[in-house]
Symmetry: C4
Subunit: 500 residues, 4 copies
């Protein structure tokens, strides 16, 4: 390890070029000159902070230890004397002013009555880049929206005259008690949306008995999240498998040691999807004065926030790696991102403890089907192989906005349901309180829906309670005869007299 | 009973706090201090009238005897000397002025030609809260709209060259003569929409030979409604079953004694649905200056008008209670709110006289199917059990706006059809005359449709007259490729020359 | 017959009340006092012209001999001395001025390239009442639009590499040569749209070898139309059967004597449909200053133009009347307005020469299926009974706007297709020339489509050329999750730089 | 051949009438007087240039040798002395100025991230006529749009945990190596969109190893295109068969001699479709001051750019001609424009080497099905006849905008996919660089999609990777109940407080 050294602002500022590039992060100085070309997010964004303090830009989009892990120890140059660094006076843009005014004008939390409200507030109060990163999905975002719409193709067959004075929607998920039949699914880079990042989820989850799945790419470190939990608070861990398996081994074993209850290995992201909203955001940043440059059409551009986090993920991950995971941990292993019955069967036969039917919130392969649609074929295929719900868990995520969605999934055979963006947007909009309110809304909805369905407990939510006749119907409108439409004059209603 | 006492305005006004709260209702003074926390609509709304006359607010949303029934006799403090009560000068808001101007500008009644016209006028002339209460439905209001759209999935197969000079659409409903093959279904709190409330329905129904189903939660008392009927006018009674069965027993037996012809027990409302429009309305009232309050996220808010009426309903009602109902009344018993074949069979086997296939106008479980869709599976299931239309009645309600809808239901096996909101909106817009006009429009439509269908009587309306091939098709559009849509340039029509 | 008398304007003007009401029509004076209450269009419209010349109002909406036929001879008071009648100076309204300006600004006829163009021009240049009468359909106009959309559910299976240098789309319809595989179907009251009325059709049809079906309710008399034909020009006759069969007998036999080639008896109009656009138009006329009038809710209003022509039609017409028609004429008899296979079979067994699968352009029973959809079930049912296309004709009408629609119908088994409104709108917009242009467009489209389909003659247009897998699919969208829609932010395209 | 003569501007200008009409094209003078009435585009457009230099108008819409080929040698009058021709000062219209400003404001090429972006830019920067010609399709353009939408009815069934570190989407098409599993399909008249016309495609294709299909109606001559290729660059040739087979024979044999690798004979265009956008564009040009002209309704108008190129195509082409093609060339023969299984079988039995399932980009028979839909029935029918993918190629084109579309077609059995308009729009917007960028985007998308699908090579893209359950579903919405829609008030989201 390099001897602890104290550097000054001017010393660092002298290294502000591609030839010699130092940056300050969290009070430490690093020489990133050789790293410039390896940086997943491109060199340009680093050079913007060459010779300066990059902490504010670094924080929300990097795992906290990313720089120390990725940079050889000899490039860790020492501490900075903060008093010697020139303060940057940040100009507040007009856009930012509007954003802050909207933040002040948020609806009172008590007026929030459903998950859409949170998203709507988050859209208004998030910086444009954060919103683009969170909300975007791949290609035409068809799968993103299909995830929601698939639930609309399932209809209830409610039962009446069952004594539903007392209804109980608590549940056990992967052996852990949960006050709701859903868990908070992993979403990355929480600090892009709130200074406390994922801790908002942790604190609310601990208070209300809900399970949080921690993201590999959380803005807050695994330990900080676990430390923020109440005693006995259960957590799951979402895992992106690193090209360097040793990093992954340490990470997994550390999590297990700290008491994490389940390992959800993401298997649908050998490469991150092309998320055009995120890509456009990057383009907006850079195109001032840009020209069609002759001969440079091949130059790859930074492609939004997603790019910055993608190169840690190993595209060679395969079924052959499963035994290795089973050898390094005793945590239940769940494969997250199954999209058809064939792979569900492979997972079942590989001896893992469960799967998540998921398309990654529509962020990976566009026009992949929704988890809820895949569920029906998966349950059928596994039943043929002697599957029972007790021994193998089938989770579903994507598109859930109502307790009724969760109940539909459970009726169709899901063990539980993952909910990601709604909780993310809840804390982007209102911090920890937002997450608590979201949990409360789900509670209210579960109470109402279970009574109206005629189910006293989650075990009473059965297949006969749903009509899935239209679930597999993917309807695209035949193109409209627009001359006919334009010529047709719609009927009108009786006219009011003119007001004076 | 407390000795009759005469109190004065200032005496009452002295009790205007949470510690001691008196209110005046209908010239009587009540001490509601202890009742504040039990009030289904929350304490806040009562405290607004602490020490004052609350009659105007009380009237439209409470059954008339609610306060005397729910408050112990010792809290009935006595009569008020009206001359001593300070007159409240009510400010007319700009919104209210607009509403009154719209009332003056209503289309002449003769220009109303369909049920939608009534709804459109009602929307304009009702106070915002009343409109929210009447029009709202649960969650995403998908079932509310589906109720209407399901009828559009049924197509006619008309028959020609049958002598239809004379057509007759009169009918017998639960043994009672009706000039139409439909009955006026129960809707609550009529005085929110018209000072005469449900009496508008009673008077028009009596005049034109239509049957009215009286709501437990009518703004006008059962006796006042029955008193307003013409001799021999048939009524049905809709029943919310109280947690206190004795209250229910007295109510039912009183109705029977007064000649009510059928008891429709609501079975789809162990808890009222979350009706977000109604909830938002409440929020608008209260949020002036509200802040996200630390630590108060759990405080339940009043949730609109619906909340105020919900706690009378017993969520423990079950099939075991049916024999008790059969023991206390000889009226035919109909279970209102059946949503699948299984429950229809249970009802049939329980020995009741009929069922209403209904989802409560979309106000309870959202994404429950429409009554008209459920009808097909119910008829099929009951036929297997030897059902005949003579001995067991199957009614359908929800979404009916045209006589053609009614005929479709009858063709599919319904005994008759319930129509609620259209008549409600008719009297909100035009009082009793509106209801009469609505009946007349239905008459005109029945005459036309029966002729064009080739049916001389209701008995001639048979299954072969409808094509239900698409009835069970629940189509949700695949998310649009909106880049393609935005890029495509629609065809245009030939252009006119520029006008000078 | 009353002695020929010459009356003066002042004499007539003295009879301008309900008690004594004289009117002038086509230079003759009539006493219509006793007829006021029998007038199908109501008394009000007559009273508007009491004591005056009513010709201009009378003309477009009455068969020319309506008044002489319906009024006893003693009420025919004599001729008027035109010079003594006060000229009415007609004010030209602002609306009328706009209409006339639009007439001047019509697109040049050569710019009209499809049937929709005609309709679009007609909508702009027709008086509002005429447009309402022509374009309206019953109830929600669902069938009106479905007629068009059904064709979009049929897709072509084109054949290639057939020598299509010469293609021939001429055809024989009910034994008559036709230059197109379609006929001009009957539409009523042509003078509402053009001073020459139906003669525009006659002249264009004669010139281009197309067959016109003459409407019972044409504005131009049967003889005048026939007289306008070229030698040998074939005509069909559409028949509304009068309550007075003798009137019908004379009319039919006169037509046969004059050489009409086929009798199309309308069987889907025992009563005219409620056409709300037409009804609203009437309401607009009358509601100035109208009030909700106490006790008058039952007063029937005139219900638009349609009302004026409806009472001639006999609702008691039935299958028993068919032999009578067969006894009074040798013309082929076609039943127009069949809507299901059962009635097609009855017609076939009744020995008539054919049927028209039609819902009267959507103007009668709303949500009746389209003719093209019914065609499939009819052909199947008739085949079981040994039907051959040579001996029994199946026509289809409704919704045709393209030659491709006609070819689809023929592929599915239609003998030919009726086209009504497009030709009507063609002459409303451009007179006879418009109709000629419409015929030319159809010719161009037939040439192109037959080549591209790979059919040299109409006989080559066979079932294998169409894919009808979706024809019976009546899709109604599940109600939208509009909170999701409002929250979702659609993808955008690359942004242009700001223009200077 | 006429003796070389040098003419002067004034000499030519003297022949500027229908009686004697000379024009200058590419520095040569031609007497086109006798040709006026034969000109496929009509005489009017030629007369506009009578006595003048017509090169600029001639160039983009004629094959370069059209005039020398079609005009007898004696009408080739000689060369022009350019210095003697009066320069025409071209006025720049306001519309053109806007267009040029938009050209300057194009998004930087690096901001283009999908094919739609190119189309959007092209729409803005193309002259209106060029855009109309390129973008238009026949009749209602339903097939045009259906081509795109059909892909949305196919959903992916992705496979996970396959080592996809290395993925390879290169392919062999008709025996030729291709860096992508798609080829650039033929589009006509490239100079309407860019001065270099089709050479933009050639250069980009050569650089990136993509195969270009050359159009018979290219603006650049076959030889110029081939000359622009890099050594060994493979080309295909699209063929419109001329009425004069000798012209076709020479053309085909010349192409073969020059090394073209495949002959794609267009079989779906015995006549060009009616493309209304193109037709309207023509009408806009001509209608200044036009009137409905009495007696001239039959005069055929020029019908847009398409008309100008249509008369070379032989409508009598038939299956009998196939052996002749086989006799004149050894190039593989592909029939382009098959639309049903029956014709696919005929082609297979005729011994050609493959087919393109295509509807000509929606420009021919409207409501013909999309190639991707037809693919399923074709593969099934050919399998019954022993077809193997090695021996008979099935290509698909129309509607492809994403690499995922290509993979769907390949999964369903396509040998490769043709992509036309996207590359055309790419060069209209950005020239050769645009095409290169388009290729790069496809590359990026193939990499991502193959990884996410779990396919290492094109051979791994198999039927089980797609769900085609909805592919044949042609859904047309039932007409909306618009009174209900207008009356229904959609739910809203929580309201923000007023901003100060």
């Amino acid at each position: 390890m390099a001897a602890p050294r104290i550097l000054t602002g001017p010393e660092v500022a002298a290294h502000a070029s591609r030839e010699s590039c130092w940056i300050i992060v969290h009070g430490k100085v690093y020489d990133v000159t050789d790293f410039l070309d390896e940086h997943p997010g491109g060199s340009k964004i680093i050079l913007k902070y060459a010779g300066k303090d990059a902490t504010e830009a670094y924080d929300p989009i990097h795992p906290p230890d990313a720089i120390t892990t990725n940079l050889p120890v000899e490039k860790h140059l020492g501490a900075i004397d903060a008093s010697t660094v020139a303060k940057v006076v940040k100009e507040v843009t007009a856009e930012e002013k509007t954003r802050l005014a909207l933040m002040d004008a948020r609806p009172p939390l008590e007026n929030i009555i459903n998950m859409h409200d949170f998203e709507n507030v988050a859209k208004a109060v998030l910086p444009a880049k954060s919103w683009a990163y969170y909300s975007s999905a791949s290609d035409d975002e068809i799968t993103l929206r299909e995830n929601r719409m698939a639930y609309q193709r399932i209809w209830f067959r409610p039962r009446i005259l069952r004594d539903v004075a007392a209804v109980d929607w608590s549940h056990t998920i992967l052996g852990q008690k949960s006050s709701l039949p859903l868990y908070i699914s992993a979403t990355a880079l929480g600090k892009l949306g709130h200074p406390d990042g994922e801790l908002c989820l942790t604190r609310a989850a601990g208070k209300h008995g809900v399970i949080q799945m921690i993201a590999t790419l959380a803005s807050v470190s695994l330990d900080d999240i676990l430390d923020a939990g109440v005693p006995g608070q259960p957590f799951f861990l979402q895992l992106y498998v690193n090209r360097d398996r040793e990093i992954t081994r340490k990470y997994v074993q550390h999590a297990e040691k700290r008491g994490v209850k389940g390992l959800f290995i993401t298997v649908d992201a050998p490469q991150l999807g092309r998320r055009e909203k995120d890509m456009r955001m990057k383009a907006v940043d850079d195109d001032a004065g840009a020209k069609v440059q002759e001969g440079q059409a091949d130059v790859k551009k930074d492609q939004g926030v997603a790019r910055a986090i993608s190169s840690f993920i190993d595209p060679s991950l395969s079924w052959k790696d499963i035994p290795w995971f089973q050898s390094i941990t005793k945590m239940p292993i769940i494969l997250k991102g199954i999209g058809c019955a064939e792979d569900a069967v492979l997972a079942y036969e590989a001896g893992v403890q469960g799967i998540v039917l998921s398309n990654h919130g529509g962020r990976q392969l566009d026009t992949a089907r929704s988890g809820i649609e895949v569920l029906a074929e998966v349950v059928a295929a596994l039943r043929l192989r002697g599957y029972s719900r007790d021994k193998f868990a089938i989770y579903v995520d994507g598109g859930v906005r109502r307790a009724s969605d969760v109940l539909k999934a459970i009726a169709l055979g899901a063990s539980a349901v993952g909910v990601g963006r709604p909780f993310l947007y809840a804390f982007c909009a209102y911090g920890q309180q937002g997450v608590e309110k979201a949990i409360q809304i789900f509670r209210d909805e579960f109470e109402m829906n279970m009574r109206l369905l005629g189910a006293k407990t989650i075990a009473d939510v059965v297949p006969a309670m749903v009509d899935t006749g239209s679930l597999k119907s993917h309807v695209v409108m035949t193109p409209e005869d627009n001359l006919f439409r334009d010529t047709y004059q719609p009927l009108g209603l009786a006219k009011f007299k003119a007001l004076l």
